[in-house]
């Protein structure tokens, strides 16, 4: 085996097919996208090179800055639900309580349902006439709190963020529980003998030891909510009047509806840069040494 791995050529033979596919489907499109973002083009008529004008226009575009703000709110909402909350739930289920496997499954379920189905279900929940929420408010006598949830420009985005929080909390919880299960039980036994409380155990054993996983998880959360698309497309389509527009939905709109592909590609590049920044950021926040048990 070592003989094979020692040979650079044989490594290349094994890596090359995957790399070629990766290059064709990822690297080349990214490069082409960056090139298109400097053009003013509908990909049919002759295109015009405009330099960074698309980017300058983007930051003057109120809809885009609104979408950016919405994306940041989405990241914050997801981070709250998918790190502290998921950790809390995970930690509770990690203790040997009755039915923890059952609850793991229940929490995990929403994330295996496809986004479109989740979106449609929640549109019914939020429906102003027969939706669950308004009916519930009516029953407990709080009619004054009833809203046309998804059509209210101040509320619609938060309604969607709540759904995202709900949908993926189980997914991240399972990742974190898996990380916790890797920690040898002897650490906890030793801590218990020394009289450490559950909180101290979490703070001093669990958290530091699952940090590398949390780093990966944070990257998943942030990039996931930056490029979020399906729920918004299904529930509001970016409306009312762009109030729930995200960068990805606006990119789609500018590309496939107004045929401003250059402009749309520029949004894509900004999305790419933001995703890369988020990786650097989470690497910095969760910096840690490699641990081996």
């Amino acid at each position: 085996m070592n003989k094979v791995l020692g040979n650079k050529k044989s490594i290349a033979v094994f890596v090359l097919p995957a790399f070629i596919i990766y290059a064709i489907f990822v690297l080349v499109p990214i490069g082409y996208n960056i090139y298109v973002s400097f053009l003013q083009t509908d990909l049919m008529s002759p295109s015009k090179f405009v330099g960074v004008k698309n980017y300058i226009n983007l930051f003057k575009d109120k809809t885009f800055t609104g979408a950016l703000r919405n994306n940041i709110l989405m990241v914050i909402g997801s981070l709250i639900a998918h790190l502290p909350l998921a950790l809390l739930f995970g930690n509770i289920l990690f203790q040997k309580i009755k039915g923890s496997h059952f609850f793991q499954t229940v929490f995990f379920l929403p994330s295996v349902i496809c986004g479109v189905a989740v979106g449609l279900t929640w549109t019914f929940v939020y429906n102003s006439e027969f939706g669950l929420i308004n009916k519930f408010l009516e029953i407990i006598g709080l009619e004054s709190l009833q809203h046309v949830w998804l059509a209210d420009k101040n509320l619609a985005l938060f309604c969607i963020i709540v759904v995202v929080m709900w949908q993926f909390v189980g997914y991240h919880m399972v990742i974190q529980i898996a990380a916790m299960k890797n920690i040898p039980l002897s650490y906890y036994e030793a801590a218990e003998i020394d009289g450490a409380s559950k909180w101290v155990q979490f703070k001093s054993i669990t958290f530091p030891l699952i940090k590398p996983i949390l780093k990966v998880d944070a990257v998943l959360i942030i990039t996931g909510s930056l490029k979020y698309y399906d729920l918004v497309a299904v529930m509001t389509g970016g409306g009312p009047n762009h109030a729930t527009e995200l960068m990805s939905t606006y990119m789609f709109y500018q590309g496939f509806r107004t045929l401003k592909y250059g402009y749309s590609a520029a949004i894509g590049v900004i999305l790419l840069i933001l995703c890369m920044c988020s990786v650097l950021l989470s690497n910095f926040v969760f910096r840690t040494e490699q641990v081996e048990f």
């Binding site: 003013q40 509908d42 990909l43 049919m44 008529s45 004008k53 698309n54 226009n57 003057k60 575009d61 109120k62 939020y126 429906n127 102003s128 006439e129 046309v148 949830w149 998804l150 059509a151 209210d152 420009k153 509001t236 389509g237 409306g239 009312p240 009047n241 762009h242 709109y253 590309g255 496939f256 509806r257 107004t258 045929l259 401003k260 592909y261 402009y263």
Partner: protein, 451 residues
């Protein structure tokens, strides 16, 4: 799990999975490529291959908007079948239907990759324009010039809406305009008559409201629906001159008429003239309000007539044109041509494609579409009124009495200013100040010119 061969088995399984996915990838790719020779999606390729293989003759593929829920698709298919049965080119026509939003995405993608089917459905004006400028659409001027009779069969101006630089690129098959559908039964029961002035219209709304009946069904989630109502009222305030001025750039989007018209609609909403919770209701839900007889009126394109006749109110439905705010601008409606088709540059058998469109706009098929499906033909044909339902008689009377039609803003300007106009109207209904909202629209229009 811990057995000796676990690693080996896993490795084998993974290898098999990888090989499988690679093979399947290759498989679909090669079959798509070899059958059609174009870079089209596999669906398109297989559709063409199937049709072509079974009959021996050529197949013309048409791409059209429609879903199973639309009653018209049976009639469109009937037109295609009739043409396929007997034509001098020996071609078979096959129509593929796609849902509206899906259609727009698919068409733009296929356009950019030169894989559009032979004939495609299109909206007029700015929708088709980029495709024409990109050289993706066949210039059919010569076909029209060759056949004067066909050319003259189109009503005045209808061909112009799909002509660019004086050349014809599209064939309109229908006309459409916005009308106010109403429930005759509800009107009768409450002692109100069809209004002839704007004041009367507001009185009808108020009377119905006082009697506990919701006057109008409205949809708030699909922005073009409230927007066409605002556009209609604005047309009644300032006529079609304002429309032309905006198109020519001589008038701004945030003009006083727009602000006033949007405010007018907002006032109607505040007075409860639309059903409760309309702002969050989709088109189907709001339509259902009128179909089920819960609201008295419904402002919509005449294409809805066939569905209304099939609904619970059926025979009780009538239509009138919304009286203008300023009576001198009566009978100026939001309307245009509809269901236009264009031939794609990739089409090999252009003569057959044009012949099919010629057949579609012939008296024979237009009659069928009118009498059975409630579609107003784009051509000037003799109409046998005895074959029409009372609702269609109303609509044709309205259609013939219009002195001006202003195409929907989102067709005139497409998904730029047009869609933003729609969004602006929704914003006003959602509580934003009308002046501020339209100022923002004007700002958008100025910024958008240079993107």
């Amino acid at each position: 799990m811990k057995s000796i061969f676990s690693k080996k088995t896993t490795a084998l399984l993974l290898a098999a999975a990888m090989a499988g996915s690679l093979l399947s990838g290759c498989g679909s790719g090669s079959s798509g490529g070899s059958k059609s020779g174009s870079a089209g999606s596999s669906e398109e390729a297989s559709a063409q291959a199937e049709g072509g293989g079974s009959k021996g003759g050529e197949t013309l593929t048409v791409m059209c908007v429609g879903t199973e829920a639309d009653s018209y698709i049976d009639y469109y298919n009937a037109v295609a079948e009739k043409f396929s049965e007997n034509n001098e080119y020996g071609v078979t026509v096959k129509i593929d239907f796609y849902e509206n939003e899906q259609y727009k995405t698919k068409l733009t993608t296929l356009m950019a990759s030169n894989a559009v089917p032979d004939i495609f459905f299109t909206w007029e004006l700015s929708y088709l324009q980029p495709f024409v400028e990109g050289g993706k659409v066949v210039d059919i001027t010569s076909y029209l010039d060759e056949d004067e009779e066909w050319k003259n069969s189109f009503a005045d101006g209808t061909l112009d809406l799909v002509a660019y630089d004086g050349k014809n690129y599209g064939v309109p098959t229908q006309k459409s305009l916005c009308v106010m559908f109403y429930n005759k039964q509800i009107f009768e029961d409450n002692g109100v008559a069809v209004p002839t002035t704007y004041e009367e219209f507001l009185n009808v709304c108020q009377t119905l409201k006082d009697k506990g009946i919701t006057p109008m069904a409205m949809c708030g989630t699909d922005a073009w629906i409230p927007a066409q109502f605002v556009q209609q009222i604005a047309g009644g305030m300032a006529g079609d001159k304002m429309f032309k001025d905006i198109c020519d750039g001589n008038e701004k989007w945030n003009n006083a008429t727009h602000v006033k018209a949007a405010q007018e609609v907002k006032d109607m909403a505040d007075k409860g003239y639309f059903q409760d919770g309309y702002i969050g209701m989709g088109p189907e839900e709001s339509k259902e309000q009128f179909f089920a007889g819960k609201t008295a009126m419904y402002f919509m394109g005449a294409w809805e007539a066939a569905n209304i006749e099939l609904s619970d109110i059926g025979e009780n439905a009538g239509a009138f044109v919304l009286p203008a705010y300023d009576a001198q601008y009566n009978n100026i409606s939001v309307g245009s041509i509809d269901t236009s088709f264009a031939v794609s540059e990739t089409c090999k058998n252009r003569d057959a494609a044009v012949a099919f469109l010629k057949y579609w706009t012939s008296q024979e098929s237009e009659d069928m579409l009118l009498y059975d499906c409630g579609r107003i033909p784009a051509g000037n044909y003799e109409i046998d009124e005895s074959k029409l339902s009372s609702l269609m008689t109303d609509i044709l009377t309205i259609s013939n009495s219009q002195v001006g039609l202003t195409p929907w803003w989102d067709r005139q300007f497409g998904a730029g200013e047009g869609v933003e106009f729609n969004n602006t109207c929704v914003a006003v209904l959602g509580g934003e100040d009308a002046q501020i909202a339209f100022d923002a629209l004007q700002q958008f229009a100025e910024d958008n010119a240079d993107r």
